[in-house]
């Protein structure tokens, strides 16, 4: 008998498998006090109990058998799963643009992990071509798997590493870059790349999916097609996020990397441009511009990197009755930058003042943003605001809190000079601060109103 793993099984369940000398993927007949069952023994999630053996029946269903009921297991073969997308070599067409897809992880392409019972990322150009053959009609695709991490595990090293990979590929002649990324922190990475890639001759498009590609209704394929199209043909040489506009399979929106945010835990249309409009919409090989002020594709533009980052930076999300020790502990632990998401126009309570003063005096750079997400910080309207500025806290205009966090880390990579930091923070490098907010920048419509009901009924939402 070959030595195979009994992955995931432990305790009583593992003993039963050992007693009958059977393994995971074994094609078995199990006699129990409840009758006979035939099927394949599947791996078991490591967090599940040790009282059950999981069987895939010939009908394709899975069931768990209680170990106490198992009387006999007979193995007569094995069938191990080979989850593999039919891999085909991506065709090359000299007249098509060259696009490079950089992988960082996430569910844009994924497969099942039996141990955890969750989906894990899978990625190769051949697999992608097998799963989304439409890509070959758009471009010549090269892929490079930089990382395989869930997006919550992304660090500043991944940001600078990705920026360096972008430069490498653009210098090698890529006509556009697509970056596959988990959606949870995609907007942080988009902001980081917006600052770290100071200028680019070609589009840099981040993409992911809200429904993993192991389901027929996945948004992965359409997002990837739209992102690839944008990278190959669009005129917009910026860092963008390309994700579903509505939850319907209709079009994607191109969001500027410094104004985008994930706004729903599970919707496909989760990414929204905050306080502004998206740059464009893309579908069916057409890019319809919404904004005019964007950086144009230009082969003459050099790709310039600036990948410094000081990670001694934090965000503090203010809540009523916050105690000063929150600020103190950051200072005492050596943090050099704090972004506060304050209430309303940018406020915190009075008990924090001494701690904020102490922080500023000891050289910590503190910037105020708003937890309303939409709107500017305005600290002159109320006395409290002026008092807080007195302490040394600098208003961060309409930067999103997450963007201000990323930017502060990037700025502190350059300088710790108080005035220089403030100057850089308030200078828009990549559209992270807008001079004005147009009236269509804040459109959170409320359901139930007759006009919205009409809209919902007639437009695929």
């Amino acid at each position: 008998m070959s030595k195979k793993s009994n992955s995931g099984y432990k305790g009583a369940a593992l003993s039963v498998l050992k007693n009958f000398d059977v393994n995971v993927w074994g094609d078995v007949r199990i006699t129990t006090s409840d009758g006979e069952f035939s099927g394949i023994i599947l791996p078991r999630s490591e967090i599940a109990d040790d009282r059950h053996v999981v069987l895939k029946l010939t009908t394709g269903y899975n069931i768990g058998l209680e170990v106490g009921t198992i009387e006999e297991i007979e193995e007569h073969g094995s069938k191990e799963a080979h989850y593999k997308i039919p891999e085909k070599e991506f065709p090359f067409d000299p007249v098509k643009p060259n696009v490079v897809l950089l992988g960082t992880g996430g569910t844009i392409a994924s497969r099942l992990d039996y141990r955890s019972g969750a989906v894990i990322p899978a990625f190769s150009p051949g697999e992608l071509y097998g799963a989304v053959p439409e890509l070959a009609d758009i471009c010549n695709l090269k892929t490079d798997k930089l990382y395989g991490v869930f997006s919550e595990n992304i660090t500043p090293e991944h940001w600078s590493g990705t920026a360096e990979a972008i430069k490498r590929e653009v210098d090698n002649g890529a006509d556009g870059i697509v970056i596959g990324h988990g959606t949870d922190t995609m907007h942080y990475t988009a902001a980081a790349l917006s600052f770290m890639v100071k200028s680019t001759p070609v589009p840099i498009v981040m993409v992911g999916s809200q429904r993993s590609s192991d389901r027929p209704s996945s948004d992965a394929a359409l997002n990837l097609i739209n992102a690839t199209w944008t990278a190959a043909y669009s005129d917009i040489a910026e860092v963008m996020v390309c994700m579903f506009g509505p939850t319907s399979d209709e079009y994607a929106l191109l969001h500027r990397g410094t104004r985008v945010r994930k706004m729903h835990s599970s919707y496909r249309s989760t990414f929204r441009t905050i306080g502004d409009t998206p740059i464009a919409r893309v579908s069916g090989g057409e890019i319809n511009l919404i904004k005019k002020d964007y950086r144009r594709r230009n082969p003459e533009t050099p790709l310039e990197l600036d990948t410094v980052f000081d990670d001694r930076v934090s965000i503090v999300y203010y809540y009523p009755n916050m105690q000063p020790d929150i600020i103190d502990s950051l200072v005492d632990n050596g943090y050099k930058g704090i972004v506060i998401a304050g209430t309303g126009l940018g406020h915190v309570n009075k008990p924090l003042y001494p701690s904020l003063k102490r922080a500023c005096d000891s050289g910590v750079h503190i910037f105020m943003t708003v937890e309303t997400l939409w709107g500017y910080v305005q600290m002159y309207v109320y006395d409290t605001g002026r008092d807080i500025m007195e302490l040394g806290v600098v208003p961060g205009a309409n930067m999103l809190p997450e963007v201000a966090y990323v930017k502060l880390g990037w700025v502190l990579g350059h300088t710790h000079d108080r005035e220089k930091v403030a100057e850089m923070m308030l200078t828009p490098y990549a559209g992270e601060i807008t001079e004005r907010e147009t009236i269509d920048g804040y459109l959170i419509m409320q359901g139930g109103l007759p006009e919205m009901e009409k809209f919902l009924k007639n437009i695929h939402f």
């Binding site: 409840d34 009758g35 394709g60 799963a81 099942l112 019972g117 192991d214 939850t247 399979d249 009924k457």
Partner: protein
């Protein structure tokens, strides 16, 4: 059931007919299976529309499913209509599932036990892929609750292969060409799927087995009633044939005819295979050729589409002459099976979908068209030509599909899911999906079903209809009341009323079953009468407040007024204690009225007098007593 089939020379049993049922029954729960939407709220009104496309994915064991790929070929736009009262963002696949509805799981366990199944130790939710779009996620969440069950049938056992709990799919609104529309109110309703082994050997038995299981489900009182709450899929095969599934049969009496015709179709398709083999046609050597014939045919089915972008193609099938005319049912020929495939897969909507040179009906080609086809294809006498027209991509898909279907005919009967037609015949719906479309639901953790919980449910199992029937027969109920009472939700009340000998069984059953049906037909709502209300009613009757006839009067009045105060109602409709003298005088009055009416025979006189008397005394004095007294009074001295 009486057999009424056109082919007396075709006996399904001799052909090795085998049939199994998949019974889908919605459960009567408050909420849906994986979200907190209310269950059973149906409406054609909608608040929003959503558009999706479905792409095939890999199964758990790493293979693409055949159906999945077929559906992808059809490239459908799928529109979902969403009513916000009956569907939430779970139904649109924008929110992950909530924990499975425990009420539904318990009902499913109870049914599985009634069907003598073993209950699984752990429930594993699986995704069963449906690329037809009937579920926005592209898969149905389903889990096995019990396996290895059986029900007694005649003098044998019918095995219950498995019982699964699953979420219901959308209701289809329309399906035209590349656009399919669904409404989502039924979506995600909890239901069970009971799968029997193919142990049914006669078409009529399929009905009987379905009836028996259906009655068992109804009798337990925790399943939904009404249109669409029960649907049957029927699996049919004959010796040498293949399992074919007839999908979504809404009523059991339709089944025998459907399965008979399916068995006949398979029988005729096996003959077709022999004919192909005699001509030397095998799966891998069918010779075909394609030609463009755009603009050259004058057939009205083609020229009715003046669309410039349409193309017309002809597919030459060598040595196939005559085979498209091969009969496979009372109204269907092999060409119709082929056309069904082309219609679904290539999305060609114009009838008759394909035209062919075997056709001798009114839609046959004219001489001129035949000459065109001859000159384009150079076809020989034993060749067959099939013409397909429409948008270029769809025509190519259509031609491919015709070739595929003809090659399959040389092998035998394709694994198909077929849809019911009103004639009792069936048409192609899709390729029968295999186990490859099953995938574990990574969003739902396994649910342990503790053994003591199962034991608890087992202890409280209701009595089975078959056992009840035996008991009721012994108690003297006539057959029709036995049949209805055995599955009535009032069975427990019935037993209580009758057990202490207080109420006569026939009277109790008549009130609880027939009177309630009568009330329903009048537009009333029998379910608004609580068991307690009815028990009080019987108590008052036993105490002599009203007669047998009074039940109907009181219940009708109660339904109208909404009151369940029987004393008040009795008074209101004029039922009272009548002194013997008054009874006598009413009868005497009636007798004299009748005496003044001529000419009438004795029977007519009696009926008229009874009518007059009952008008005043119905409910107050038993009709049998009054009849006796009226008879005596009318007796000529």
């Amino acid at each position: 059931m009486k057999r009424d089939y056109p082919y007396n020379n075709f006996n399904p049993r001799d052909a090795g007919f085998r049939c199994g049922l998949e019974i889908h029954q919605q459960l009567d729960t408050e909420k849906k299976l994986f979200c907190h939407c209310p269950a059973g709220v149906y409406s054609d009104e909608y608040n929003a529309q959503l558009l999706r496309h479905m792409r095939p994915t890999l199964s758990e064991l790493g293979e693409y499913d055949g159906t999945a790929l077929m559906e992808f070929k059809t490239r459908k736009d799928i529109i979902y209509r969403i009513n916000k009262d009956s569907a939430c963002t779970y139904e649109t696949d924008d929110t992950p599932p909530f924990p499975i509805n425990k009420q539904a799981v318990d009902i499913a366990i109870e049914i599985a036990l009634l069907l003598n199944c073993s209950i699984v130790g752990e429930l594993h939710v699986i995704r069963k892929q449906y690329l037809d779009g009937s579920i926005p996620a592209g898969f149905q969440r389903t889990a096995i609750v019990g396996v290895n069950g059986w029900i007694p049938f005649k003098n044998r056992k019918i095995e219950i292969f498995q019982l699964a709990i699953e979420e219901d799919a959308c209701r289809e609104v329309s399906d035209v060409g590349h656009l399919r529309t669904y409404t989502t109110d039924r979506l995600a309703m909890p239901l069970i799927e009971v799968v029997t082994a193919p142990h049914i050997y006669e078409p009529e038995e399929a009905y009987e087995v379905g009836m028996q299981i259906g009655r068992l489900l109804r009798a337990m009182g925790k399943v939904r009633r009404g249109i669409g709450s029960v649907r049957q899929d029927v699996n049919v095969s004959i010796e040498g044939g293949t399992r074919v599934e007839i999908k979504g049969v809404p009523r059991l009496p339709l089944i025998p005819r459907l399965v008979y015709f399916e068995a006949y179709r398979q029988h005729r398709l096996l003959q077709l295979r022999e004919m192909m083999h005699e001509r030397g046609i095998e799966e891998d050597n069918l010779q075909t050729e394609r030609f463009d014939i755009t603009g050259r045919l004058e057939h009205p089915a083609i020229t009715v589409f003046p669309d410039e972008s349409f193309i017309v193609s002809v597919l030459l099938l060598k040595k196939m002459a005559g085979l498209f005319a091969h009969k496979i049912g009372p109204d269907r020929r092999f060409a119709d099976d082929v056309a069904g495939r082309v219609r679904v897969i290539a999305c060609l909507i114009h009838r008759p979908v394909i035209l062919h040179t075997d056709d001798t009906s009114s839609s046959a080609f004219s001489h001129r068209d035949m000459n065109e086809i001859l000159s384009v294809t150079g076809m020989k006498k034993d060749d067959l030509a099939v013409v397909v027209w429409g948008p270029p991509d769809d025509v190519v898909t259509g031609l491919n599909e015709i070739e595929i279907r003809c090659r399959e005919a040389a092998v035998g009967i394709p694994n198909e899911t077929r849809q019911r037609m009103t004639t009792g015949e069936t048409d192609f719906e899709r390729i029968l999906p295999g186990p490859d479309r099953m995938y574990p639901d990574t969003d739902s953790p396994p649910l342990v079903i503790p053994r003591d919980h199962v034991a608890e449910i087992r202890k409280k199992l209701p009595e089975q209809p078959l056992d009840r029937e035996k008991r009721y027969k012994k108690q003297g109920l006539p057959d029709h009341l036995t049949w209805m009472m055995a599955i009535s939700p009032r069975a427990v009340l019935f037993d209580r009323l009758v057990s202490e000998g207080k109420i006569e069984p026939v009277l109790a059953a008549t009130v609880l079953v027939e009177l309630m049906i009568h009330l329903f037909r009048l537009g009333g709502e029998p379910e608004t009468f609580g068991d307690d209300d009815l028990e009080n009613l019987f108590t008052q009757h036993r105490q002599g407040s009203f007669t047998r006839e009074g039940f109907r009067m009181l219940i009708e009045e109660s339904a109208q007024t909404g009151s369940r105060n029987w004393t008040e109602l009795t008074a209101k409709i004029g039922i009272r204690r009548v002194k013997p003298d008054e009874v006598k005088s009413i009868i005497t009055d009636a007798a004299s009225t009748v005496a003044g009416v001529n000419p009438m025979d004795e029977a007519q006189k009696f009926r008229m007098a009874m009518g007059l008397v009952m008008e005043k005394l119905r409910g107050s004095v038993p009709g049998t007593e009054l009849a006796q007294m009226v008879k005596e009074t009318l007796k000529p001295d």
